[in-house]
Amino acid sequence: MQLNVPSLRASLVLTVFAMGFITIALAIYTGQTYQTITLNNQKQTIIDRIERYTEEALEKLDDNLKNLGLSLQNEEYFRKIFLKRQDKELLRELNAHFHQYFVTAGIIDLEKIYVYDINLNLITQSTEISENNFSDSICPGIIKKAKTRTGPAKSVTLKELCKHNGRAFFSTLVPIGSLAPKGYLQIIANPVHDLKKLDQKLATPIRISSANSEVIHQSKNWPDARQIKNVLPAHYKLHTDNHQYVFTISTATNLTQLNKELDETKKFLIITALLITFSTMILSFVALKKSTLNPIKNILKQLSDIHDDKNKLGQKVQVSGAIELKELAIGFNEIASELQLVYQEISSNNQLLEDEVKERLSAENALLRAQEGLEDKIKARTLELEKVSDQAQKANNAKSEFLSRMSHELRTPLNAILGYAELLLASKEEPLSSNQEYKVRVTQRAGIHLLSLINEVLDLSSIESGKISIATEKVNLENVVNETLTLIAPIAEKNNISIITDLDDINNVVIETEHQRLKQILLNLMTNAITYNKENGTVTLKINRIQGDKLKISIIDTGIGIADDQLDKLFLPFNRLDEYKSRVDGTGIGLTITKSLIELMNGEIGVESSAGEGSTFWVILPYSSKSKLDSVAPADENITQETENKGHSHTKVLVVEDDEVNQELITSLLKYLNFDSDIAENGSIALDKLEHNNYSIILMDINMPVLNGIETTKKIRQLTSDKKNIAIIALTANAMRGDKEECLNAGMNDYLSKPVSIKTLKKTIQKWLEC
């Protein structure tokens, strides 16, 4: 616990006050004790004095009695009647003397006179009436004692204080015929009479009380109860020679004067103590101020000065006061001068620092200004970038639009080229010469290649612009594989490549993905494996389930492999393996599209290759083993199926098409397929014709003047007649993704993309006619 130490001044005050308090208390105590001791002493002195004066008084009484006795026995007459034993005379003489003393003298309060013979036998006694008359002898003790004496001692006078009937008596025995005693005289007196005058000697009132507390005598000025407080009582007990208590002599000394003196003494003591305390305090303060407080004040003032103005560090504190404080002041001065040096150094450093701070501040301000400029610049740049971004987006959109348009515009003439080439080859009425047939087939092959190029470019464009998405349908993997193998078989055969399959149980394996796209992926990879293979090589298709819910499809070829530096570039667009550039046709975007599609399916594609030994392309796709196939999608069995071209003469097809070339081509194709056809240049005309004729089916172009295919279809579906349910098949060069959906949403039944092959057209028309 920490004590709260008071200030030096307060400590001193406390100390001095404590000392003063103790001194005063001591003074009071001393005064009180002194008073008590004084009073006790006084009392003892008074008792001593009473004793002494009592003894004196009794001695005086004894002298008087002796004188009385001796002068009586010395009288010639008395001695004569005594010796002659003339008892009557003796009695008369005694009484006369008694009377003389009793009446006249008054010095003694005489009680009795006895006369004894030499053997202390009582001869006679005074009969003069005193205050008391006793029948028996008073104070016989003295006689008993006298009887024991022998020789010269018989002459000795005796005295005794005795008690008789509760009263005090003083008796003296004197010999008759002193040097040669013939008898004795016993004189008895009342001692109280002699003690009454003690008050004058003691200068204080007295009271004599008997053994049974009866007041025998009391001075006139004996204090009453009221005054008794201010009185010092003293008691002296008087005893007989044989130690019997006779009476008490009490005094009542007036203490007024004494108390006054004692009080004055006490007062003096206290005042002295107070004076000592105050003078000590003042002296202490003066000494403290000079030795301690002033030096401390000086140091404190200097500290405060230094606090206000550091330049005052150089000033010295006056060295004064107590030794310790002198040392403190010297130490303070030393420290101050050291601090001064330090302060000067700091000041100069501070100046440097201030300068630096100023510099930094200005630099910071400049920086702030620059920052503001920077922010502005960033804003401007951001705006610019936004602009650029917008422009890029616009450019991208423009590119997509361009591609779309290109696709459309390319397809329309291609449709005609391929269509007519097919018609030429298919015509049985005008068979071509072998030379002609070869030329037409080259034309057809070039057209097909062009078409595939257009399709791939279109796909890539769609993927890049994010327009493509994978539909989720439940796809039977086995079906997809079978379709792919069927499609790939002719190509493999042509290239002398054997297809090996290493398949797990993929029966009933269902993948939620888009059938067509999955097939596209497999075809692409298989085609690549066949194309980039050795003569008489093999392509292995391996499918196994990994990690429970994943499917790994591996396509392993025995080709020349891919160099490590080529592997990275493999999936980039328009990047074809150098060795094959000259040999193999292709756009070089097939793998790019494949990769993009796989990623859209949440899958992965990778390649492992070692040059000269072949490559392994693997694809990992997620699949749900739980999913079950609701309905098995029908295999595209009709692809190779030859169908009867005849028997459709009753069917009339309305071709809504604005392009004349296409009008002619479709009409020719329909004619080849034995369908009657009617042409409408636009939707409006088509609606008009539909109203007036009966058609089995409508082939609807989309992009048309006046009323396009979408709107036309919508209007047809809104018709009130039965004709609103007519099958409408879109036949358009709009091959971009989303076009098909738009058509179907508008109410069309099916969708065919230009250029359309004879087979596809026939199959589709037959499909909707059967409905």
């Binding site: 001796l70 020789g151 010269p152 002459s155 000795v156 010999p175 002193s178 040097l179």
Partner: protein
């Protein structure tokens, strides 16, 4: 004849020595001289012996050598007052029946030289049965023997 001559001589001697003797107490007082313990030719006694002497020798004369004023304080009963200054062969012969008469001298006490002087005078005068109560009245009083006071 021869005796008478000696007697005269002694008287002259006493007479001549009187002033000296008279002066002596004052001298002794002045010097604080205490009475001698013994005086040749006399018998020193105390108070009790005095009492005994009284019964032994009924003819015993007790001489109080003090001056009158001292005697007023009290005196031994039957004593005769003869201050030392008045003590001479003449006065003694008036009191004492013959030279062999028993006689006791006393004064106030040991510090009082009067009884000593009186005893010497009595010896010089030829008294042979002298007693000197050296303790004197002081001792008497102190031992509570009765005394007469007028």
């Amino acid at each position: 004849m021869y005796k008478k001559q000696i007697q005269n001589f002694l008287n002259v001697l006493v007479f001549l020595s009187c002033p000296l003797i008279i002066l002596q107490p004052s001298l002794s007082h002045a010097k604080g001289v205490v009475s001698p313990q013994h005086i040749k030719g006399t018998k020193k006694i105390n108070a009790e012996k005095l009492i005994e002497l009284v019964s032994e020798k009924p003819a015993l004369i007790i001489i109080d050598s003090r001056i009158k004023s001292d005697r007023q304080q009290g005196y031994i009963e039957t004593s005769l007052s003869l201050p030392d200054g008045e003590t001479s062969c003449q006065t003694l012969s008036e009191i004492l029946a013959h030279k062999k008469s028993p006689v006791v001298f006393y004064c106030n006490g040991p510090k009082c030289g009067r009884s000593a002087i009186a005893v010497k005078v009595a010896i010089l005068c030829g008294y042979t049965n002298t007693f000197w109560f050296r303790g004197g009245f002081e001792e008497w009083k102190q031992k509570k023997f009765p005394f007469i006071k007028n």
